[in-house]
């Protein structure tokens, strides 16, 4: 018994094919847009790669790019099918491609949705990656003479000025790290020697921050050193001073920035996803068209009314038909590796 049988006059077939063709082209453009959005995200993540510890988050833009390219190809293919759909002579050569087309199209549509969900799920991973990356950046700030680390100072300074932030969690992170290199410390000075002696690890720690933490909106010239010492500066209260340096931590600033970016991109990808779902649904209509065309084939009068159906057999039987080759493939694998322990099937 056929599922969802419908009658198809010639005019309806023409309209259906034209509508599908237009939709496929729109979806092709949408696929290209997805690819571009993926490239954008990857570029932005790559720009700040020095303050990220690992590249786990790059899976989001990579998947987006793959899905975009695949969607581009699939929908271009679909538009080609639609173009030939009304020509009874050219349509049969596409017959064998329709089943794999449905399967692949569904797969990539689901993958698109998964990417958007993934981008939200990976916030934690991004945050911990930034935490470690920034901590290292601050630690190696002074090592401008060590190969491999000589640009950390420049990167951290530029980052703090651009994102208007200071330190990892906040500016106090600079108090725990020696960020002034020994090359620039006068070891003959008593003050320097005292400070180094008072520290367990022999590090020169100050309650000061680099100049890149300074806030240009402050009404007074920037106070960088002796931040916790109210008496060192005239008319200064460390507890109530808000505008002098940036109070926000760079980790929070970067996470907000990337989350904002991924939200915007996610919104765009969701709309592409909806368009893709629409296209898949119309691909189902294409199935109607295919079956209708099969009825026309062999008839000399191509403009007759024909019947189309969704599935030739019932739903269960069609699913079994699809899964059979997959199971056979896995079972075959099972038979070959009989001697070993049974592999875990998907």
């Amino acid at each position: 018994m056929a599922v969802m049988k419908m009658k198809f006059p010639f005019q309806k077939r023409v309209k259906l094919a034209q509508g599908l063709w237009l939709l496929s082209w729109c979806a092709t453009v949408a696929g290209a847009t997805t690819f571009t959005l993926g490239c954008l995200l990857k570029t932005e993540l790559h720009r700040r790669a020095e303050v990220m510890d690992n590249t786990d988050i790059h899976i989001v833009p990579n998947t987006l790019m793959i899905v975009g390219l695949a969607s581009l190809g699939i929908n271009y293919f679909a538009s080609k099918i639609c173009q030939d759909a009304l020509d009874a002579g050219r349509f049969p050569r596409w017959k064998n491609f329709l089943k794999p087309y449905f399967a692949i199209s569904c797969f990539f549509t689901v993958l698109m949705l998964l990417t958007v969900i993934m981008s939200y799920a990976m916030t934690g991973s991004l945050e911990s990656s930034l935490k470690v990356g920034l901590r290292n950046g601050i630690r190696f700030y002074k090592d401008t003479d060590t190969p491999g680390r000589c640009f950390q100072k420049q990167n951290i300074d530029r980052l703090q000025m651009e994102f208007q932030c200071c330190g990892n969690n906040d500016f106090r992170d600079w108090f725990e790290v020696q960020w002034i290199s020994n090359r620039y410390l006068d070891f003959s000075s008593k003050e320097v020697k005292d400070r180094i002696k008072s520290n367990v690890d022999g590090r020169f720690l100050v309650d000061g921050v680099p100049f890149s933490c300074c806030n240009p909106s402050s009404p007074r010239p920037c106070i960088q050193y002796q931040l916790t010492n109210n008496s060192a500066h005239y008319n200064y209260d460390y507890q109530t001073e808000e505008l002098n340096i940036y109070l926000r931590g760079c980790r929070e600033a970067l996470v907000n920035y990337y989350m904002g970016l991924m939200n915007t991109i996610g919104a765009g990808v969701l709309s592409v996803f909806l368009l893709q779902v629409h296209t898949v649904l119309t691909a189902i209509h294409l199935r109607f068209l295919q079956t209708a065309m099969e009825a026309v084939a062999g008839n000399e009068n191509t403009e007759i009314e024909t019947e189309g159906y969704l599935l030739e057999k019932g739903v269960k039987e069609t699913i079994m038909e699809y899964l059979d080759p997959v199971l056979k493939f896995l079972l075959l694998k099972n038979q070959v590796q009989e001697g070993e322990t049974a592999p875990v099937t998907a």
């Binding site: 401008t144 003479d145 000589c150 100072k153 420049q154 300074d157 530029r158 000025m161 960020w179 002034i180 290199s181 090359r183 620039y184 410390l185 006068d186 000075s189 680099p210 100049f211 890149s212 300074c214 240009p216 909106s217 402050s218 009404p219 007074r220 010239p221 920037c222 960088q224 500066h233 005239y234 008319n235």
Partner: protein, 358 residues
């Protein structure tokens, strides 16, 4: 003899009309580009207008904006005219409008050229305005509590950070202004009072610079204070530490930035001007060709098109005469029926001398 005479067949006239229709539409697009360039320049100038002493330079983007809008309108009208010019009957509708339209377009094209040349010649005025503006900005850097000047500190800091510059011609300009407000100076401190007293005008001058002068590419943490004494910071010798502060002056940096922007805009506007000139020439040829066809009476025949009917000198004299005579409200005619008393008075015979033949 006519200037630039070309003969057109009917087919060529129609082709010319089509091509001009397309070119006019492209000109509408270039007019929109001109408008966009004007807006862009205005935005760029307004970004840093606090460090410019006068706003006179804004007339360049304003001119570009008006010219762009005019270009859109004129070329849209032109496309409508050219579309109708292919057919002699439809051309009659536009016959009276054509000449004024061409004159308007000619003046408008001259405006576009003037706009392009302005972009190149504005540099001197810009330099003056920038240096004066920066000098004021540095003087009022500390006045963050004075209305009208409270954002100068922020603007100047952001300027020095973004353009990677310090001071007007160099970092030493900061040594000559008091950039720390009296609100943050401890007047009970002996050192402060000494410094104030040692200055003629009672200003608190230091050999220090604000934090925004610090260079990000320096390998050492920024040395902002006590810059002129070599022994101030360990191993710091300002001659041999070129990377510590930004070396370039902000006057030069801003001037280079704006000159670059204006030169690119000026070049684009020049190209647009050349294109407009081409379109104008085409429209003039089409107009003269169509008028000659009407004069000959046969729509299918060939006709001549030209830029000027007589030579340049004759056309200039002719137009000059028209302008001269525009002022006169009473014209002297050669009509014999009109009694012109001034010359003929002596020739008149008194009536009693006329002998009546009976």
């Amino acid at each position: 003899m006519a200037v630039g005479k070309v003969t057109f067949t009917k087919a060529e006239r129609e082709k010319l009309a089509e091509v001009l229709w397309l070119l006019n539409w492209i000109s509408v697009v270039t007019g929109a580009i001109l408008f966009g360039l004007g807006i862009f320049l205005k935005v760029e100038i307004q970004k840093w207008q606090e460090v410019m002493s006068e706003q006179g330079i804004l007339y360049v983007p304003h001119m570009l904006i008006t010219t762009g809008l005019a270009a859109c309108g004129i070329n849209y009208l032109g496309s409508k005219i050219c579309l109708d010019c292919a057919d002699t009957n439809k051309f009659l509708r536009w016959k009276l409008v054509m000449m004024p339209y061409i004159v308007c377009t000619f003046f408008f094209t001259a405006c576009v050229l003037a706009g392009a040349l302005l972009c190149y010649s504005i540099r001197g005025q810009l330099e003056e305005s920038l240096y004066q503006g920066l000098r004021n900005a540095m003087r009022f850097y500390k006045d963050t509590d004075t209305p009208g000047r409270c954002y100068l500190k922020r603007t100047l800091d952001l300027l020095q950070i973004q353009f990677q510059c310090c001071g007007i011609s160099g970092y030493r300009d900061w040594f000559q202004v008091q950039w720390i407000s009296g609100r943050y100076l401890d007047m009970t401190d002996g050192a402060v009072v000494d410094r104030l007293r040692s200055n003629v005008e009672g200003k608190y001058l230091m050999d220090s610079v604000p934090f925004s002068c610090c260079s990000t590419i320096s390998p050492r943490p920024c040395v902002q204070h006590r810059l002129s004494s070599a022994s101030s910071d360990f191993s710091y010798d300002h001659q041999r530490q070129p990377l510590n502060l930004w070396r370039r002056g902000c006057g030069q940096a801003l001037l280079d930035h704006y000159t670059g922007v204006m030169q690119s805009i000026g070049l684009t506007v020049l190209l647009i001007w050349l294109f407009e000139l081409l379109v104008l020439t085409g429209v003039r040829y089409l107009q003269t060709a169509m008028e000659n066809v009407l004069r000959l009476g046969d729509p299918e025949s060939e006709s001549d098109g030209w830029i000027l009917e007589k030579s340049l000198a004759e056309t200039a004299c002719y137009n000059f005469d028209i302008i001269k005579n525009l002022g006169k409200c009473y014209q002297v005619d050669d009509d014999p029926n009109i009694n012109v008393p001034s010359v003929a008075a002596e020739l008149e015979v008194p009536s009693q001398q006329v002998q009546v033949q009976s």
